[in-house]
Amino acid sequence: MPVKINAKKGGKSLSASIKTQAEEIAEPQVKQKLAEIGDYATRISPVWSGAYVKSFSFVPFGSGSGRMRTSKLEDDNRAMEDQIVREAQNNLRADLNKIDLTEVNGVVLRNRSPHARAVESGPTPRSPTGYAVFAKVKDRFR
């Protein structure tokens, strides 16, 4: 015997209702987790000039964009590390606020600093083997 399913809830279509639920319930929780990932990545990043840590961004999957900061080796800003990391974390939160997770196919944590590859795998002036920042982030949150 056929069963009729009423696909309306409160006058909204089922798809509209699911989207509303996703936006109101799931999206804030996913963004909270993404913010934790961003906080961790910036916390474990080496800071010298600050260019690397301030080059992190969250972008929609498939996007070629993302912030990039450059520096010179003599730009030693280690004394301002806390402030630099906070700025980087605020940048990432601002990125997340601009992304509608229900409209994108995923979110990418990216670092477009020119020396991002060296920071990851070395060599850098302070670490011949690099800092494996992305490897650590993946390990912790996989």
């Binding site: 590859r117 795998s121 083997t129 494996a132 490897a135 650590k136 993946k138 390990d139 912790r140 996989r142």
Partner: protein, 135 residues
Amino acid sequence: MASIYDDIRSALEVKLSAVDGLPDVAWENLTFSPTTGESYVKPRLIPTVREPAVRGLNPQIYYQGIFRVDCFVPEGLGPAAGDDLADKIIDAFEATTDVTNGSTTVSIRYAEREQGMQDGAHFMIPVNIGWYIYN
């Protein structure tokens, strides 16, 4: 009493040493001069988590981290040599493998490689081996 990290490192390094056909090894914090035209690997232990496994007094501690093995092969010879070397290491540390050395057993969570890249006179492929242990 040895640090648990010494035991973890030892278990993973012994396992790495047993990989068939392994080239020279640039052990962490030991002087090593790569030879142009010869392959080598560079392992390092990267702890990422140390936390109580349960609530309560004197809990068992959960440790997690990465055993990263950078695989270097001579540049200009194509990707096959690097791929083969990375594959050997991934096979030895396949996910769910238990690596035992003495009374220490380290469990493998995953073994994966990244994109290869030029590094001086070598082509380098990073292999990341995720591990954990309760102690």
